[in-house]
């Protein structure tokens, strides 16, 4: 039975997920091999299979398409493409697709629909009409509380989780999210400062942008598209800065 990380939720895991929100900056000086699913990455019991890999007997095999990251004891694959895999502790943006008697069904771009129960929301909620609180096709910033084999449970009981009003929503590949955020949020901060927009990046690849003017939002959207199209280019931060400077003068 392969080790399935997505079904694994305990405190330690949550802690690790929080650090995952600060994504690793890709070192451009070091060239990395591109691997495909099924490729044998390492041999030996002493090496641990990390994210995007699995153990098959003695061998560690890639289960995703991406860049190989190999250290002495750990092998992992930084994905270049693919669908979003939900993890407990991730902050995502979701859209209401159904309203039930005790909560909302939310699309978070994963293979299963997520569920936000009334219990997990703040304040008084009139249970007779839940659409008064969150209506169809509205978008929310939510946190994934737990990932179960056939369902995803969400929560709103945390700071910064809210319904998003106004602005625009764009979709990028979830594998590009670490690049959009940048080291300790540097990339997204650059875009925020230059365009005067408020930006929320969900781990699932949905990005919400709201500025004072629609034109600012479009510039921010384009900057994010540049990052998501060429995430592994050398000197990307400079390129984005240059693009923003050029558009600022207009």
């Amino acid at each position: 039975m392969p080790y399935r990380r997505e079904n694994y939720t305990n405190r330690e895991d949550m802690k690790e997920e929080e650090t995952r929100e600060m994504p690793e900056e890709i070192d451009h000086e070091k060239s990395r091999d591109i691997v495909v699913p099924g490729e044998i990455l390492a041999k030996g019991k002493e090496i641990l299979p990390g994210e995007g890999t699995r153990r098959e007997g003695e061998e560690i095999v890639s289960s995703r398409f991406g860049l190989l990251d190999k250290t002495d004891r750990l092998v992992k694959v930084i994905p270049l493409s693919g669908a979003y895999i939900p993890r407990a502790g991730n902050t995502v943006i979701g859209q209401i697709v159904d309203v039930n008697f005790n909560g909302w069904n939310i699309d978070v771009l994963s293979s299963y629909q997520a569920f936000l129960p009334v219990m997990e929301c703040f304040g008084y909620i009139n249970k007779k009409d839940l659409t008064e609180v969150y209506d169809f096709n509205e978008i929310l910033v939510v946190k994934i509380r737990a990932v179960k084999p056939r369902s995803i449970e969400l929560t709103m009981k945390e700071k910064g989780l809210k319904k998003l009003e106004g602005g625009m929503l764009i979709k990028v590949n979830s594998a590009r999210v670490p690049r959009i955020i940048g080291k300790a949020g540097s990339m997204v901060k650059t875009i925020k400062d230059e365009t005067n927009c408020n930006i929320i990046v969900g781990q699932n690849g949905l990005v919400w942008i709201k500025g004072e003017r629609v034109e600012d939002e479009i510039i921010a959207k384009k900057a994010i598209e540049i990052i998501s199209e060429k995430p592994f280019e050398v000197g990307l931060t400079e390129k984005v800065k240059e693009f923003l400077e050029k558009n600022k003068k207009k």
């Binding site: 859209q95 771009l109 096709n137 509205e138 998003l164 602005g167 625009m168 479009i218």
Partner: protein, 265 residues
């Protein structure tokens, strides 16, 4: 996933300012690319890229018995398949409303424009005629599937050739040099109405935000209108006339563009 309330509002706001979300003009289509002969099994095939929208079309020929009411005319069938590969909104299974509508729209454009000479597809009156099957497979749906599919099918038809026939049987895989009787390109243009303004070649989001759309098929240089299909809210007479003018003008540009691309390919 359907369009979110905030995004719909933003798109309406941007279009009401006569701008587009991807920096285009209201009446400006995305870049068009046509690749011909991509399938070795089909008698004619084409792949069309309209921005991020990608459509594959193939033509298969077969010898069949004609319909009783038209013993000397060939048969045309247009079939579309919206596979889940193209968009997360498509489900596998029996064809839905969207699939049937797409195939019917292309079919009507081809049939009513009389660009195919069905009489020339007759081999022996009342016994054997050629049947043309146009198959449309969208690879990626990023909006404006109707126009992209129409371009793909006319591109495939314009390069389709008859297969070899031996003893009344079609020898598949062996092609002749004889082209099928397809002459005038029927050009399909769909005009969308968003927030009181008219746009062409929408992205998926703009399609979602639109309240009505009208599909026109023209042939050039006579500028004949062959088919028209309206979906959505009611339109006034002036609006419909304006939409037709937009489509006619855009179709003219598209006609020259497609003819040029087909000559090059």
């Amino acid at each position: 996933m359907e369009i979110s309330t905030v995004m719909k509002k933003r798109i309406e706001e941007i279009i009401s300012k006569e701008k587009r979300i991807d920096d285009r003009e209201l009446i400006e289509s995305r870049e068009l690319e046509i690749e011909i002969g991509i399938s070795s099994k089909a008698e004619g095939s084409a792949q069309v890229k309209l921005g991020d929208t990608e459509v594959l079309a193939g033509i298969k020929l077969d010898l069949v018995e004609p319909f009783r009411d038209s013993p000397d005319a060939g048969v045309l069938t247009v079939n579309a398949e919206l596979s889940p590969l193209a968009s997360d909104r498509f489900e596998s299974g029996p064809p839905g409303v969207k699939t049937i509508e797409l195939a019917r729209l292309i079919d009507r454009g081809l049939r009513n424009s009389e660009c195919i000479d069905f009489k020339k597809l007759c081999v022996k009156k009342g016994e054997k005629v050629w049947s043309l099957a146009v198959d449309i497979y969208p690879i990626n749906d990023a909006g404006n599937l109707i126009d992209a599919s129409a371009i793909a099918s006319i591109a495939a038809l314009s390069v389709a050739v008859f297969p070899e026939v031996k003893e009344d049987k079609v020898q598949y895989g062996e092609l002749t040099n004889k082209k099928i009787p397809f002459t005038n390109l029927p050009i399909t243009v769909t005009v969308y109405k968003v927030d009181g303004k008219f746009i062409i070649d929408p992205t998926t989001e703009e399609e979602d935000a639109s309240v009505a759309r009208v599909t026109f098929t023209f042939t050039y240089p006579n500028e004949d209108l062959h088919s028209m299909q309206k979906v959505g809210d009611e339109l006034s007479e002036d609006e419909l006339i304006e939409m037709e003018e937009i489509a006619l003008k855009e179709g003219k540009r598209l006609n020259t563009k497609i003819t040029g691309l087909l000559k090059k390919a």
